[in-house]
Structures are given as structure tokens and as C-alpha cells.
Symmetry: C2
Subunit: 420 residues, 2 copies
């Protein structure tokens, strides 16, 4: 078995099976442009879960499903009592997202599970591949992994991002409930480590021609609803200088968010992804426009400073246009560090396989950050061509996916072995 | 009967009955704040029509309903063959609108109809009070009066403002159809004149302490969908300077619309009443934002110049942010003149009643502009307190409403008499 430590002879994932499984896991909710439309708990998302369930059964793994809807394929060596090595990602997508975000991580982990079963008969560490519910936060950001790690409050669930009634119906459709979600915690002593493979969703790897990104930690994400309040009035008979037009406040704030970040917060990003106009008609000056804004930073202090700067900007803008403003913090996802031991183990696997890697922070949220509160957690990135993400243009060359899966495999092998 | 020409003894409307009828006509769809929420063909709107129908029957008038859903109360002196004097307005409102816009015109016309029947036994001119469908353009601007005057195309009806399927269902709910709407024209020779009373929806009368506005004509209204197209991308991992964020184009355009009008088109108004974001999530850079914009001007040349200026602005903005733009003209309502003879008759009635009046253009669209293509048409305004309109704050003191109704009554009496 010594030969396994040289790149040429090292165990590898089964490329064909991996590709077939990935294709199968990206069929439900596929869009004509080549993307995926699988918002959490939608019919397409539940169909994808059903497909994964069939695959688990076909390959002879046991199924585990918790009260958060998280669906697992389990390989449990006989009489294994040791903590579980968990590998995971998610099958849901944003509305009209891409094929690689999440589904690639599930396919890679599932492939690793199969290789470990076939080649790891001497280990007594259970291995589990988990598909987390609503990673993208269609309803509640990182819903499944936060449920598992006990980071959900009832308020998170009664104030989802969409319509609460629609969320309740979606939960019902999936056979879930708010009480169930709050009870879906898993004891830390049950888990040895958590590993995840994901696409980078940026261009740092591609531009530096690096095979693997080893993630050091995730940025914090802070979400706000910034509502400008004016007065609804007739769009014909109200003179321009007599208007208290909420649209103007929202528009200027949207531009100011970008300007503030680019001028003084280049270590952060901020986005206005939506505005809701009320009453929302051609012929009525809007009395209320709600701006959906989020900001991200590795550094909590900087995030707080940026929030303060934007609060002040929104106030100044509201005064300028004769409006009022309500700057409401909706939700935050805390910045989180990955485990050093796993970072180093990923890098050993990269070396073993003769690949290149670099350490980098993740600018996106991932389930690994929830899991990091339960057990040592690690995350690797494979390159995203052109950096496209949350779009049908999302793409990673298959050989790059295979490299990532092999790093995941060798890291999992070491974690299974070191636990013996 | 000579005494009738002095203010003190002139016939007046029955104030109490008028107020009771107005209250009854503003009950369906009333909002807690004191406004009305009766978008055309909604349940509340259809309920208001049902109420009007009951009132017509109770007062012993005959009912006429055409294929556009326009509902009329008819008083036909025996054997009358002369063209009809039509008085009208509308019972629909914008979403969360006010109580006076439209409903006051119906109540005033209905009161005038009753006084004419009770005091005008010597006339053989039929008089009809009509409630026009969808004046506000929830679906199609001035739908009922344009149907009657043959100004609707099939394209207008298959491209309504809302969802075409929802429009089809709304028509069905009201017992209407697209083919029916296209057949609802009325021959010009059937009509003698059209008169309407409406609230001003501005502050010109209030500020000049004038009782009655005699409308000279209506501004043209031009509606556009201006869509900025960028690229959807991940809101965390896409650097600010790599984004093609459609929100930025839409926001800057919204501000530019106001700036352009205030700088160089002070004779026009323009409004951004809504923006639709796609995909419309916190964590995705928007790839498409559609701006709902309209502009109004008395002068078609100026309107065309302003449109051109805004087209150029939208192009410059799209280049600045790396976007594309689609500047689509959706619909226009042509500027229209009121009949001089009716303007003069309104002014005679104002003099007779010892009131004050001024001539002014209407900055809002009204059914009178459709009717002006069929027969001599006239429109008067009563003052709007504070100029509030399309809002629950819309208000006109009752004594001002009564003054307007009396001017409408005396003008109708003259038109009935002059036709003898």
C-alpha cells in the first residue's frame, strides 16, 4: 500500500461514475439555458432530493433524514461506534441559478463515499454524505445546517425571507414543520469532522491558475431592509417639486451603497438585489420603496462600520428628498474560521496528488460555517470559469471537478485512517 | 320662471340626497384609512357597480350596460328621439386610492339626473349617467370610454398592464370579453354632449381660491418600460468593479428622469412608479431591472423631445455601467381639447350661481378625452384639499362638491334646453 502515496498510483475517484451521478443530480429543475431553477422546497428541489434518495438506495447505502429535511447517504462499517465523518453540500439553488453550486459538492461527496466503501474496508469510521436544506436561503439562509448545529431561533422561522404563509405551505409540502426544524440538532460528539467541496464563485483561482482553493473561513453576511417612506400621489397632477417620491430615495441609496463600498470599503462587498415599490403603478408616485440590501466582510468591525456609514447615508438621502427611512437589520450570518488541522490535511492531499492550491477566504456563505460550530470543518473550492455564479453561465471544467473530488477523497481517507 | 336666472332662486341639487348617494357609492372597497381600494374588475369594484345598479333601480331609472361593462342610468322622456346628453365618470380606483376620484363624478351626475327628471318635464332630450370601466387603467387606461369611442385595438387588450391571464380572468369574472370590448362602440349621432365633474387632483384651484376649474383639454400621457440588462452573479464573490448590475442603471435612470424634467422640461411631469428586479434576491446581482416610467405634456412636440432626451440618458447610463437597455414605448393617451361651447356654458353656469372659475388644462387623463372624439365634451374640476390624489388623503370639502354639482346641473339644464 506504500505506492498509494505517489501521485501516479494514488487511489482516484471513478471519473465516469462521478460525471454520470452529477448529470443525474442536475436534471430536476434544469432550465433551457443550462442552469438550474431549484429554490428550496420547490417541486424541482424536492424532485432532486427524490433522485438522490433513489441513487442512495441503488448503491446500497442507508438513508437518514432528519427533522430539517437534511437527507443523508450513510456507510456504517459493522459495529462502528466512532464519530461520523460527514461530507456534504446542497441540492437547492437560487432562482435561476447554475448547475455546479451545491450539486457538484453532493456528487463529489457521494463519489468519495463509494470509493471509501470499496477501498476502506479496514476503517471503522462511519461516513455520511448529507444534502442540507435551503443552503441558498430562499427562506432562511443555511437553514438545514443551522438547524443541525442548533443555530436557529423560532424568530428565524417565523420571519422567513419570503411570505411566511408560503413558507409554511412549502414546509408542509416537504413534510416539515417549524417545531421539527427547531428539534433537528445533532450532538457534537456524534461528529468527527465535516468536509465540503464547492465551486469558488469568483475568479481568484482561475486568474492565478490554481487547482484548489483551501478556504480559511467565511465572511460574515449582513442583510437589511431599507424602506424609504414618502407620499403616494397622482403622477400627472403633482408638480415635480411638490413630490415626496420614495423612488428617488431608494434610487440614490442604491447608487450610494456602491459608491461607499468602492470608495472606502474595498475589503467588503454590498449589493442591492431588489426593490419593492408600493403601490407600484405607472401613474402613482410611490409612497414606499423597500430596498433589499446585503453586505459581506471577513471582519465584523469593518462590517459594522460600513453598516453605520450606510445608515447615515440613508438618513441624509431621506432628508434630501423629504422622506423618512426605516433601516432594518434583518439577519446576519457570522464570519467563521475553518479548522487548521483540516486546512493542512487538504494541503497534504493537494501535494500528494501533484496539484496546486492557495488559501483564501470564502466570500459566500456555506454550510461548512454552520458545521464549524459542531466539529472541525473544512472546505475546498474548485475554479469557476469566468467567476460566473448564481447564473446559468456558472461552469467548471470537468477535469477541475475531478481534481477537487480527488483532494476530497484523499483528505477523507486520511481522516478515516487517523481516527483508527 | 325668470327668477331661476338669479343665484338666490336658481334650482339647486339636493345636498342631502347627493351626500347620501356619495357615501353609499364609496362604501364598497373602503379602506381603514378612509380611502378606496377598487382596482377595475376587482371584487370591490364589481360590488360598487352592483350598488350603483341597485340605486338606479330604486330611483326608477332604466339600466343600460354595454359590452365594455359601462353601466348607465337612463332617463328617457316619452318618445324622445333626440341625441343623448351623457354625464359620467367612474367607480373604479387605483390600488389604495381615494374616495373622491371618480365616485364623486358619478354621485354628482346621478344627482343631476334626478333633478333634471323632477324639474325638466318639458325636455325631450334623453339624459344618461354612465360609469366607465377601468378609467384608472389598472388593465388598460380609459378602457370603457375608449371602447365606446372606438379607440381600442386588439393589441391594447392582449397587452394589458398586468398579467394578460389575470386580465382574461378579470374580464370573465365581470362577464366581459375581448371581442365584446372591441364591439362596444357607440354611434356619434346618438350623443349630444358629454359632461363630467372630477376633483382637480392638484392645488391650482385651492391656491387661487377658485371654486371651479373649467378644463380646456387633457395632457397626453406616454408610458414606457425601460429595461436595463446586466448579468446575474453572486453578491458575495463578484468584486464590485466586475459587476454588470442592472440595479445601478435603473437607479441612476430614475434620478435622471427627475433631473431632466426639472432642468429643461418644467412644462412636463415624469414619474418612475415601479421597478421590477430579476431575479430579485438579496444575494444575487440583478441581471434585469424594468423601470415603469410615464411622462405627461400638453404639447406633443415637447413630449417627443423629452422622450428623446430620456432615451439618450438611458443609453449613456447603460454604457456607464456596462449594461444594455431596452427603451420600449408601451402606450400613449393623446392630448385632447374640450369643446369651446361647453367651456363657455360651464362659465355661464358659474356666473349664474355667483361662483368663481378659471380655465386650466388637466394634467390627468379622463374619460372626457375619449368622449371628445365622439361629441362635444366638457369637464369641470372641484378643488382637492392639499392636492392629494391617488391616496387616502384625497379630500374635497362637501360644500365645494355641491358647488360643482350645481354647475354641472345648470350646464346640463342649458344643454337640454338648447336642444329643444
Amino acid at each position: 500500500m506504500q505506492k498509494m502515496t505517489t501521485p501516479r498510483d494514488a487511489i482516484r475517484v471513478n471519473e465516469t461514475r462521478f460525471l454520470e451521478d452529477f448529470s443525474r443530480l442536475t436534471r430536476d429543475g434544469a432550465t433551457p439555458e443550462g442552469g438550474l431553477n431549484r429554490p428550496a422546497l420547490s417541486e424541482a428541489h424536492l424532485a432532486a432530493r427524490e433522485t438522490f434518495r433513489e441513487m442512495i438506495q441503488e448503491r446500497g447505502f442507508s438513508i437518514h433524514e432528519d427533522n430539517a429535511g437534511n437527507l443523508s447517504a450513510c456507510h456504517t462499517p459493522s459495529e462502528a461506534k466512532k464519530p461520523v465523518l460527514l461530507l456534504g453540500s446542497h441540492l437547492d439553488s437560487v432562482a435561476n441559478g447554475g448547475r455546479f453550486d451545491g450539486a457538484l459538492g453532493i456528487a463529489a461527496a457521494f463519489e468519495v463515499l463509494q470509493v471509501l466503501r470499496d477501498h476502506g474496508a479496514d476503517s471503522d469510521v462511519p461516513v455520511e454524505v448529507i444534502d442540507f436544506t435551503d443552503e441558498e436561503g430562499t427562506w432562511v439562509s443555511l437553514l438545514g445546517s443551522r438547524a443541525m448545529s442548533g443555530q436557529l431561533t423560532r424568530k428565524d422561522l417565523t420571519n422567513p425571507r419570503g411570505d411566511p404563509e408560503a413558507f409554511r405551505q412549502a414546509l408542509q409540502r416537504a413534510g416539515l414543520s417549524i417545531d421539527g426544524l427547531l428539534s433537528a440538532t445533532r450532538p457534537a460528539e456524534n461528529l468527527q469532522s465535516y468536509l465540503e467541496l464547492h465551486i469558488e464563485q469568483g475568479t481568484r483561482l482561475e486568474r492565478s491558475r490554481t487547482d484548489i482553493g483551501v478556504v480559511t473561513g467565511m465572511v460574515g453576511i449582513h442583510m437589511y431592509l431599507v424602506t424609504f417612506l414618502g407620499q403616494s400621489n397622482h403622477a400627472g397632477t403633482t408638480p415635480m417639486n411638490k413630490r415626496r417620491d420614495a423612488a428617488l430615495g431608494a434610487a440614490e441609496f442604491c447608487l450610494m451603497v456602491r459608491e461607499t463600498v468602492m470608495d472606502a470599503y474595498s475589503d467588503c462587498v454590498a449589493t442591492v438585489g431588489r426593490m419593492d415599490f408600493s403601490p407600484g403603478a405607472f401613474n402613482i408616485v410611490a409612497n414606499r420603496v423597500t430596498v433589499f440590501m446585503e453586505l459581506r466582510s471577513e471582519n465584523a468591525t469593518r462590517a459594522a462600520e460600513l453598516e453605520q456609514a450606510l445608515r447615515e447615508a440613508s438618513l441624509n438621502i431621506s432628508v434630501k428628498f423629504g422622506l423618512k427611512v426605516d433601516f432594518q437589520h434583518l439577519e446576519s450570518v457570522t464570519a467563521r474560521k475553518m479548522a487548521s488541522a483540516i486546512i493542512e490535511q487538504f494541503e497534504s492531499s493537494v501535494d500528494l496528488l501533484g496539484l496546486s492550491s492557495r488559501r483564501l477566504p470564502s466570500l459566500a456563505g456555506h454550510d461548512a460555517q454552520s458545521m464549524a460550530t459542531l466539529c472541525p470543518a473544512g472546505l475546498i473550492f474548485v475554479p469557476s470559469a469566468g467567476g460566473f455564479s448564481h447564473s446559468f453561465r456558472e461552469y467548471t471544467p470537468w477535469e477541475a471537478c475531478v481534481r477537487g473530488a480527488n483532494v476530497l477523497l484523499h483528505t477523507a481517507m486520511q481522516l478515516v485512517k487517523s481516527s483508527e
